[in-house]
C-alpha cells in the first residue's frame, strides 16, 4: 500500500437507539483498493456502522465522507458508487438469478449482461435457478454478484462467509481478492480471524461501539508477540483446517 488515499473517512461516529448506544465515537479511514476488515463480537456495532456508511441508517452524530461525498447530503450519489451485501438479506421471490440480476440492473440504471455477471461469480450454470434453491456458498456468491452490477468503487460485505464450509469459504476469499485486484475497495466484517488474517490488508477491532485496535494483521500480531504473549501450545506447521482441505480437496462442491 504505497499510495494510501482514504476513500472512506469516518469521524466521531455516534449512533444512539432509545436507551442504547450502539456506536460511540468511531473514527477510521478505509484506503483505496484495500480489503478492510471490521472485526468484533456480535453486537459490537459493526453492522450498524456499515449500514450508516451505506446510507441505510441515520447516524446520531459524526461525519462520514465516501469518495468525497457526504452521507448527509449526497446519499443518492453514494448509492451509485457502492455495492452492498447485507447480512441475511433475501431476494425478490419466485425469480431466477438472471431475472434478479435484470431487476438490480434496472434499480441501478446499469447496462450489463446478466450472464456476464453470473460468470464473474461462477454461477452461469445456475442462471435459471431460484435464489432459494442455491447452497450457502452459491447464495453468498450471488449476493456478491448483485453488489458488482453498478461497477462500484467500494463494496461492503457483511459476514459473507458465515455458515460456509471450508471449500466455499476459500473460494469466496479468492473471489473477494479478485474483485479487489480489479480495483474495487472492499469493506468486510467477519468473525473468523484466520479469514481476516489471510484476506484483509488492515483490520479494525470494534468493541462496545468503539475501535480498540486498527492496523495490518501482521503489525497487530507482532505487537502482541512483542508484549510477551505466547501460545500455550507449540504451533504446528499445519492446522486442522489444512488437514480438512487436504483430505477433501480444494474444488468447489456446488
Amino acid at each position: 500500500m504505497e499510495t494510501k488515499k482514504a476513500i472512506i473517512s469516518v469521524k466521531d461516529l455516534v449512533k444512539k437507539y432509545d436507551d442504547f448506544v450502539a456506536v460511540q465515537g468511531l473514527s477510521f479511514e478505509v484506503f483505496e483498493h484495500e480489503i478492510f476488515g471490521l472485526l468484533g463480537p456480535n453486537g459490537a456495532g459493526k453492522t450498524t456502522t456499515l449500514e450508516i456508511i451505506e446510507t441505510l441508517r441515520a447516524k446520531t452524530s459524526g461525519e462520514i465522507i465516501v469518495d468525497g461525498l457526504s452521507v448527509d447530503k449526497q446519499a443518492q450519489d453514494i448509492k451509485q458508487i457502492i455495492g452492498v451485501q447485507l447480512q441475511a438479506a433475501g431476494y425478490y421471490p419466485n425469480l431466477n438469478l438472471v431475472e434478479l440480476i435484470e431487476l438490480f440492473a434496472g434499480l441501478y440504471g446499469a447496462n450489463i449482461k446478466p450472464m456476464e455477471m453470473l460468470e464473474k461469480v461462477n454461477l452461469q450454470d445456475k442462471a435459471k435457478a431460484k435464489y432459494k434453491a442455491l447452497s450457502g456458498g452459491q447464495k453468498q456468491r450471488f449476493s456478491i454478484a448483485t453488489t458488482l452490477i453498478n461497477q462500484p468503487k467500494i463494496i461492503f460485505l457483511d459476514e459473507p462467509t458465515t455458515g460456509l464450509d471450508p471449500q466455499a469459504r476459500r473460494n469466496l476469499w479468492d473471489l473477494i481478492v479478485e474483485i479487489r485486484n480489479a480495483g474495487t475497495t472492499v469493506v468486510i466484517t467477519t468473525h473468523y480471524m484466520d479469514e481476516a488474517e489471510q484476506l484483509c490488508d488492515r483490520v479494525a477491532f470494534v468493541e462496545r461501539g468503539q475501535i480498540i485496535a486498527l492496523d495490518t494483521p501482521d503489525n497487530l500480531i507482532d505487537k502482541l508477540v512483542s508484549s510477551g504473549f505466547e501460545r500455550k501450545k507449540e504451533v504446528k506447521k499445519a492446522n486442522l483446517e489444512d488437514v480438512f482441505i487436504n483430505l477433501t480437496g480444494q474444488e468447489w462442491r456446488e
Binding site: 468525497g68 441475511a88 425478490y92 421471490p93 425469480l95 435484470e102 431487476l103 461497477q151
Partner: protein
C-alpha cells in the same frame, strides 16, 4: 477528495443525471409481475376461485335464472300479461295444480310466486294479483321488477299492452349477469388485499426492501412498480373472467368492447382502492401468519355482504346499511350497471365517487401505518 484519480472506475451511465427512475420503476414492475404469475396463491385467488364459482352458478342456472310462477286455478291464461311473462324465457309457468298443492309448493319455495290474472269488468285492462313467498325472496324480487315493467302503464293506460311487451323482452337477465360482476369484484378484492399485504410484508421481512434501499431507487418507484404489476395482473384476470363468462355462459356485454373497457377501468379503480387495505395490513401484521386473519376481516364481510352472491336487497333491513357502507358493494353495483344495463362510466359516477372516498380514507390510514423496515 480524489475523484479525478479514479477514472478507471468512472461509469458515465451511473452519473446522477443519467439515472432513470422510470426505468427502475419498470424493472420493479416487470420483476413483480413475473413473481405474481408464478405465485400459486395469486393465480388461485384471482382466477381459479372466481371461475369455479362462475362454473358452478353457470351450470346451476343452466345459463339463466328460472322463476317458477304458479298460475292460480281459475286465472285467465290467454292474456298479454301471461304471454309476455312466458316470452321472457326466465319464467316458467306452473299450471294444472290445485290450490292446496300450490300452497305447499309456495311454502317450500318450490314455486317462487303465484299469479292470478283477471280482465277487469268493462275495460280492456287486467287486474293482476301476485303472491310472493318468503322462501324465495330473491327470485320474487326479480319477478316483481319484471311485473312492474308490465303493470306500470297497463293499469293507467289499458291500451298500451303491446308497448310494454317490447320493453321486457329486450334483454334476458341471467344468473351469470348477476354472479360474474360479483365474482369479478371478489377477485379484485383478494388480489388487492392478500397480494399486496403478503408481498410487502415478505419483502420487508426478508430484507429485500432494505437491499433495494441500498440502490438509488426511490420509495415511490417501489410502490408504483408493485402497483403496476398488480393492476396489470388483476386486469388480465378480469379480462379472462369476462371473456369466459361471455363466450361460455352468455354473460351480457351490452356495448361489447366498450363495455369491457369500462369494466376494466372500474376494475383498475377497485384494485387500487383494495391495495390500500393491503398496504395497511402489511403494516399491521407482525409476521406472515397474521396476514390471512387480518385480510379476512377485510375481505369476508365484503364477500358476503356486498352483493357478491345475493342481491343486498335480500338482506334484512338492519344489515343493509352495513352493506351500503362497503366499497365492494359499489364496485359490484357499478360493474352490473355497466355490463347489463349498458351504463357509461358517467352514469355510475355515484358509485365511483364512493369508491374514491374509500380510496382517500384508506390511503390516509395506509400512509400512517405502512412500514418500510
Amino acid at each position: 477528495m480524489q475523484k479525478d484519480i479514479q477514472d478507471q472506475h468512472s461509469n458515465p451511465s451511473l452519473a446522477t443525471g443519467g439515472y432513470s427512475h422510470t426505468k427502475a420503476t419498470l424493472a420493479l414492475a416487470k420483476a413483480s409481475f413475473r413473481s405474481i404469475m408464478r405465485s400459486p396463491s395469486a393465480v388461485v385467488f384471482t382466477l381459479a376461485f372466481p371461475l369455479i364459482f362462475i362454473l358452478v352458478f353457470g351450470f346451476l342456472g343452466g345459463g339463466g335464472t328460472r322463476i317458477d310462477v304458479g298460475v292460480t286455478p281459475g286465472s285467465d291464461v290467454n292474456n298479454p300479461v301471461i304471454g309476455t311473462l312466458e316470452k321472457t324465457g326466465m319464467i316458467r309457468l306452473v299450471k294444472d295444480k290445485s290450490k292446496a298443492e300450490f300452497d305447499k309448493l309456495l311454502e317450500k319455495g318450490n314455486v317462487d310466486a303465484m299469479i292470478d290474472v283477471h280482465r277487469k269488468v268493462n275495460t280492456s285492462a287486467y287486474s293482476v294479483n301476485v303472491v310472493y313467498t318468503s322462501a324465495s325472496r330473491d327470485k320474487g324480487g326479480i319477478l316483481k321488477s319484471v311485473l312492474n315493467n308490465i303493470f306500470y302503464d297497463k293499469t293507467l293506460k289499458p291500451t298500451v299492452a303491446e308497448i310494454k311487451e317490447s320493453t321486457i323482452t329486450g334483454r334476458e337477465y341471467k344468473t351469470i349477469d348477476f354472479i360474474l360482476p360479483g365474482q369479478l369484484g371478489f377477485s379484485l378484492l383478494s388480489t388487492g388485499v392478500f397480494g399486496t399485504a403478503f408481498v410487502f410484508l415478505s419483502l420487508r421481512q426478508t430484507l429485500v426492501i432494505k437491499r433495494f434501499f441500498a440502490t438509488p431507487v426511490r420509495r415511490s418507484s417501489i410502490v408504483i412498480g408493485e402497483g403496476i404489476a398488480r393492476i396489470g395482473f388483476a386486469l388480465i384476470g378480469a379480462l379472462f373472467i369476462i371473456l369466459i363468462g361471455h363466450f361460455f355462459f352468455g354473460f351480457t356485454l351490452v356495448h361489447g368492447t366498450l363495455t369491457v373497457v369500462n369494466m376494466l377501468i372500474l376494475a383498475t379503480l377497485g384494485v387500487i382502492v383494495f391495495m390500500g387495505f393491503g398496504f395497511i395490513i402489511s403494516g399491521l401484521a407482525k409476521n406472515e401468519s397474521m396476514v390471512p386473519p387480518i385480510s379476512n376481516i377485510v375481505t369476508l364481510p365484503q364477500f358476503l355482504l356486498s352483493g357478491t352472491f345475493f342481491s343486498i336487497e335480500a338482506f334484512p333491513s338492519w344489515l343493509q346499511p352495513i352493506s351500503r357502507a362497503l366499497p365492494l358493494t359499489y364496485l359490484n353495483d357499478a360493474m352490473r350497471k355497466v355490463a347489463f344495463e349498458g351504463s357509461g362510466l358517467w352514469d355510475v359516477k355515484f358509485q365511483i365517487m364512493i369508491l374514491l372516498l374509500w380510496g382517500i380514507g384508506i390511503y390516509a390510514v395506509a400512509v400512517k401505518v405502512f412500514k418500510w423496515e
